[in-house]
Assembly symmetry: D2
Homo-oligomer: 305 residues x 4
């Protein structure tokens, strides 16, 4: 496995030159465009890694699955669906069009920005600190990493330039999808996006989902099998933004990407895979990361289809 | 003329029952749904009125033409066009879709909410107070009414519930149509919408435009003929929101409506007409006010076509 | 006047190099990109011309106002409005989006392709020949030109490549805007677009509208003043496609353009103006023709605003 | 298994009263709204059925996966992708909007009408008969049913009322997605939709996909594992139209529905399931059929997530 990972990382490193580091959040543009790494954590607790697996990056949209898990635990699926649909979309991750044109005015799914903001509003917590800590604590627990924290430079950069997200949030307030305090819900959102992680951390999240809610490293059940199924289904249809359809064809496993360059992939009953590669394709997905997952899926026959 | 106005108001008063007072700003819902009045001010200084011509209402979107005049005086048309188009639209007055889908990301025209917010950002003034006073002073001058002021209840109601406008403004900030301080540009916008006026005041604005920039009551030129032509052209194609096409057919003069129930109409070279009727049709235009203007246009052959 | 026209044509001839002859109908691409001409016909019967005023071109969308007049005479405005709106639009002339997204599924206005096809379906005539001759005969009468006929090469070219128009027509059939025989309605549409005219012919159409329905050359009333007002109103808000707003500002008169390079402008109570210049801007309007109209409007103060 | 199927069908039969038989194709409205049946065919060749499993219905959009398989065999995935995307969409199955608004002008995926028409244009065959027989023969082979044929009443009904599909096809011709003969491609499309099948037939199609391209009843490989993976991936993200996201959550297997009331579901490595229930929900999916699949998935833990 280790040899396979090494070979795949090396074979795909050239891809990094065809992508671009996200620049719309100024601080993100400092990411290392040439980094490429992978971490595999299987449900039996075995761990394998290769390349720049220990480079730190901000989790960005990969955090949307953690928020979604928390929201599902704090509510239930039916209640969540009164505020957020689970419909895949061909529009981009920060699109606002459908909030106006769809009769429900609901965000299409929890994996795009509007949906993630609405998701956070449904997580338990009376103050921004409570809400953020609710999710951060869960994050620390499932990654077995008590040191996860936010990158303050990225957080401030996100906050200062997050006007598109503000537009999404105020629009949803105007249609009563989210409640009163837009700014503090956004603050939690920006903080969650700014959590600093490695491939290992997100591989652990993937392994939890692969293992149907039981932590592989200690056998503790932290969420239900049903919630894990919902999350994996939504990742499959919506997790790679408007590239979700292509990814299902070429890789064939539930996954979620972030503009920090991370992607978490889940192979049900088998493993979580974390990859990092800050050079992105035009849809905002790690260009090298997708190639690694494609090769891994082919070589190990990981596709669920 | 007075008899004609009296007859027209009476004949159309029954229309008020088919419309609804705007409710999306809670304070507006207190408007008198049955009020209906008209005021005519011609370029020779003659004045005629009928019905509830002295009822006070908030100017709302009629203020957009005053802001637009100020922005044209403080910049020039070409410069303004780098931020705002002058394209009529079939979408509603608070639509956000085109800010995303049009390649320019510019608001389509200065008569819809997004465009008016961008317009205000182009008016002179380093502070919100400066900007607001720049427009308010101009307003007082052209209406010959030093007592115009804002209705504080409506202003606070607009401000508290203006989330759709916030969404528009933050979206435009994210695409660099407007600059830094969204909240204070919005504050000016809400204040301008909350100015309390009567039919007479808006008829005076109309008469200034009809008279190509010269105040009928004292012969003072306050703006250029070219600016008045631009404003009247934009009112004709965009002033009645997505009802602009129908209004051009049925009335045939430049006009601008507001959800407070006011409409100002301009008969070039002849007169300004202010009507009020807070009961609105589905497009947000005064249902009785449009009927009055239709009858007046037919009886006096006012159409410019 | 003749001197003025000569000067304006010469001053603007260089614009023709910045535009492009329409190519989406192959036969149109043979048009002379450098031609530029103008013809003025006033309501007193005076005629002036300059430049390539006698070059022949296909009328294309300028025919939409002739079809619209016929449909208004054969029905009435209210009846026509059950099938076609009169709403200006920011979308392009061949857009299909709104047929799906608007609840009414009606074409937005009679000046865009979808609306013109629906307009033709409302003109009297039980066979395609009847319908086409109804409009052609009216056309011959109002241009005082019995020799108007279709350019068969362009007609066949339009018919062979008119798939976008077919899509519009079949969509409207599916929503019951138009009735059974899509192909023959389209055949009439393609024929009407292929009528060969000169500036003089379209100036005559403009003069009829300027003169409120009475032919200047013989005093015959051929349609009502009300119909002329409707047509001029719709031309003002919708006649120059998504350039209608800008044109209202810069020229300020009702007008209709065609991709053959013609534009007819109407100065109410005064004159019809026909211009030709097959080099088009990106919105499909004659780039030199618009400049001629802009200069003429400025020099003679023609704007209706 | 038989007992389980019987129980599930009976428990869900009441759902049929909440849906409606498709009426947009007149002939379809004659479908039996109360029918409900299921057929399971596993990769080991075992067969189970319950309810109205032998009722005949027209295959409608379930045929899209058969066309897609043929197109993948006759081309390759990359070539197919030059004409059709594999992007899930939140728009309805007959939406035309994206053909205009997406820069590629490609249909979003092969499971919606526009995409299926483009798919058929890529299947081998120089005449409509060749193309139709290419697909029909494959259909007969994989269902082991040489008697499959079209329902002529439905076919004529589709053809007479298929104007929305004509609009899609002509639009795609105008953007060069499909080639010359729109009417005969549509003819093949209407014929394919009109093939008469039972639950058993579509269960066989599902079992082939579950078995990665090998027919369970005779061990013959009829297509590649890769093609089966592509088809299952696209079914998962796009197969239930704009209900695909919800279905992935609640059932969790690749599936394709048709407005005739059939749904085929694929449980990879395990079985194909065919259900029928002509009463449809608002998205055009069998309302009872979805409930059966939901219960089966829960009871047998079939979800791939």
């Amino acid at each position: 496995m280790k040899d396979l990972l090494d070979a795949i990382v090396e074979n795909n490193r050239h891809w990094t030159q065809y992508g671009n580091v996200a620049t719309y959040i100024p601080e993100l543009s400092k990411g290392n465009a040439h980094a490429l790494g992978v971490y595999v954590y299987d449900v039996d607790g075995n761990e394998y890694s290769s390349g720049d697996y220990d480079v730190k990056f901000t989790i960005q949209s990969v955090s949307k699955i953690v928020s979604f898990m928390c929201a599902l635990m704090d509510n239930n699926f039916e209640k969540l669906c009164t505020k957020i649909s689970v419909a895949p979309t061909h529009d981009g991750f920060n699109s606002i069009v459908n909030l106006e044109t769809k009769n429900s005015h609901k965000p299409l799914n929890p994996m795009i920005n509007s949906g993630a903001i609405a998701t956070i509003s449904m997580v338990k917590g009376d103050t921004p600190e409570d809400k953020f800590n609710r999710i951060l604590d869960f994050m620390k627990k499932i990654t077995n990493n008590p040191n996860i924290n936010i990158n303050h430079d990225v957080y401030h950069s996100e906050k200062n330039t997050g006007d598109r997200n503000r537009a999404l949030a105020y629009f949803m307030k105007s249609t009563r999808i989210i409640g009163d305090d837009v700014e503090w819900i956004l603050d939690v959102y920006f903080k969650l996006c700014s959590m600093e992680v490695t491939c290992k951390d997100i591989a652990y999240i993937g392994a939890l989902l692969a293992n149907d809610g039981v932590l592989p490293f200690n056998g503790e059940r932290v969420t239900t099998k049903d919630i894990c199924k919902i999350v994996k289904a939504v990742m499959t249809t919506c997790g790679m933004y408007d590239g979700s359809g292509e990814f299902a064809v070429s890789v064939g496993v539930p996954a979620k990407s972030g503009v920090g360059g991370g992607i978490v992939a889940v192979v049900p009953k088998k493993m979580g895979i974390g990859v990092v590669g800050p050079a992105l394709d035009k849809k905002g997905n790690s260009i090298g990361g997708i190639q690694i997952l494609k090769d891994l899926s082919n070589r190990l026959d990981l596709s669920i289809f």
